[in-house]
Amino acid sequence: MSDTPNVVTGDFEAPTIKPPTADESQPSATAERRREIHDIWVAGTEEPSWVRQATDEGSQEMLIAGADQAIAVQEGTVVSDDYVVQDDSDADERQILNMGPQHPSTHGVLRLHLELEGETIRRVKPIIGYLHTGMEKTAETLTYLQGSTNVTRMDYLSSFHVELAFALAVEQLLGVEIPPRGQAIRVLLTELNRVSSHLIWLATQGMDIGAISMMLYGFRERELCVNFFEKVTGLRMNHNFIRPGGVAADLPDGWEDDVEFLLEKVPAGIVEYEELLNENPIFLDRTVGVGVITPEECKAYGVTGPTARAAGLGWDLRKVFPYSGIDQYEFDVPVGRHGDVYDRYLVRMEEMKQSLRITRQALETMPAGDYRSDDRKVTPPPRKRIDESMEALIHHFKLFTDGFKVPAGETYQAVESPRGELGVYLVADGRSRPWRLHVRAPSFNHVQALPVMLTDSLIADSVATLASIDPVLGDVDR
């Protein structure tokens, strides 16, 4: 690990069309309340009242209470005078809007309970679990070799990262070293995966706030990345390519040309999108100063990745806890300042460029050698050896029936996925299946932090904010 701090790059001075800190320049009652709500309290001091408000179940009760009142008035048991303004009639003016689980801009099956006062969101309650398939339980029934087929389906837009986190955790307990070429292939694929995932984010972010053409553009470049993945792994998604012990296969012939082609096409696309969006007044109106989260809130809620970096936290696991030899590559970590949707946009655009920079270096410095560990207890023997060696045949048979055994222990391994810190907490009991596999999903934290970003903002902004945290519901529900 190098001692150099994370490098701040990019000029994130927002264009002067609209100051991003409009809230601070003209404090209003809403801004006051917002600040009050966004305060982080210190443990041990008196517990503030707003915490319960932000998370409790009260929203539904409030509607029922209002309905009772309305029914009573209709039945005539209560006489209400319309001309008398009641000070405590706040609840009657609020309505609950149920956004999702079937909604085009919830990025899956996320449901948001929005409590509205006019067009202002007063309370948000994310409701998740619609995509829960018990993958952590399933993981306990699969061998370590089968495990990566399971975990790759969690965060389906950045499959390589989940596979990598899982493989690294298993390798940590096994004590298996991956040869340089295997590590470089992992870096190449994960960084390209970051680009493809960010392109999906760009496409959906654009579409959610009305730039429909972004949807087409984003998918256009993403298709190039996915085609490359297909050529390498055989699958467009859910690759099951990065496995404990290395990667499943070597890169195909002519991969250099494919990567060269990507490195030519994708950056050109990114430049085009930046021209389209960076100073687009509609885009700025919809994103600057919207969905703000502060660094303190990021820490308290465990918000990581581009969302935290846009808030000004220079924190990238690739720099801080380097894995898979990523510290050999030269790249910068973009850090924003305002923590709003626009800064997240800028950070992600810069991240794509940095990832392509790493890809370029991986292309130029790809070491020769084996792409997986030669520990035959962990990785299958080459096909040729099976015909001539009894031992190889036994290894092959044992590996695919019984799987390899991982020494007892527990470990936590995190990687920097396109969404943030993706961690695998693995408990092994000395057998060939994990005793416990827990995945710390970045989207889970980000969805949890939605109330912080959305409370007291306009309902129209909820879509922009939701898109900007880039949730993958497969990751949230697992």
Partner: protein, 176 residues
Amino acid sequence: MTDQDLPTTDTAAGADDPVLAELAVLFPDARFERFEPPVGPAQDVVHVAPADYLDLVTAARNAGFDTFVDLCAVDYLWRDPRFEVVVILGSMELRRRLRIRVGVGGSRPTLPTITWVFPGANFYERESFDLYGVTFDGHPDLTRILLPDDWEGHPLRKDESVGSVPVQFKEAHKAP
């Protein structure tokens, strides 16, 4: 799973670390370990009793571990206490992590909530409650999060079966 092959960590000096020494003074009963995996960086682990759990989390936060990373439960079926809740805290300034492991047993495993220290623990505690039935005292909204509200049982417990749905094939009853 017998007692011999229970997951263990390598016991090594952890208390000579200035940050952890500070915590070790406050919590003499807590057991500090440093787990050094064959590959990868060392990991600091602290075992703590349920009674000291909330205080330790608060103290760790004040000692600089101010970033919430992860919380999950583990079911060690034949061990006493049966469950273990694992909290991972991070520090961006110190660039390190601390893993807090607390055993919790009994027919109704209960721990105090740390939602008031780290609001990010909210969903994770709900998840642990949902999947393992570990309750967290003082939690603002301890309801099921991933499973439907009318679900019975806690499916990630080791004594819950994986279950299966019988598949009725179209041609099953037809004579050959």
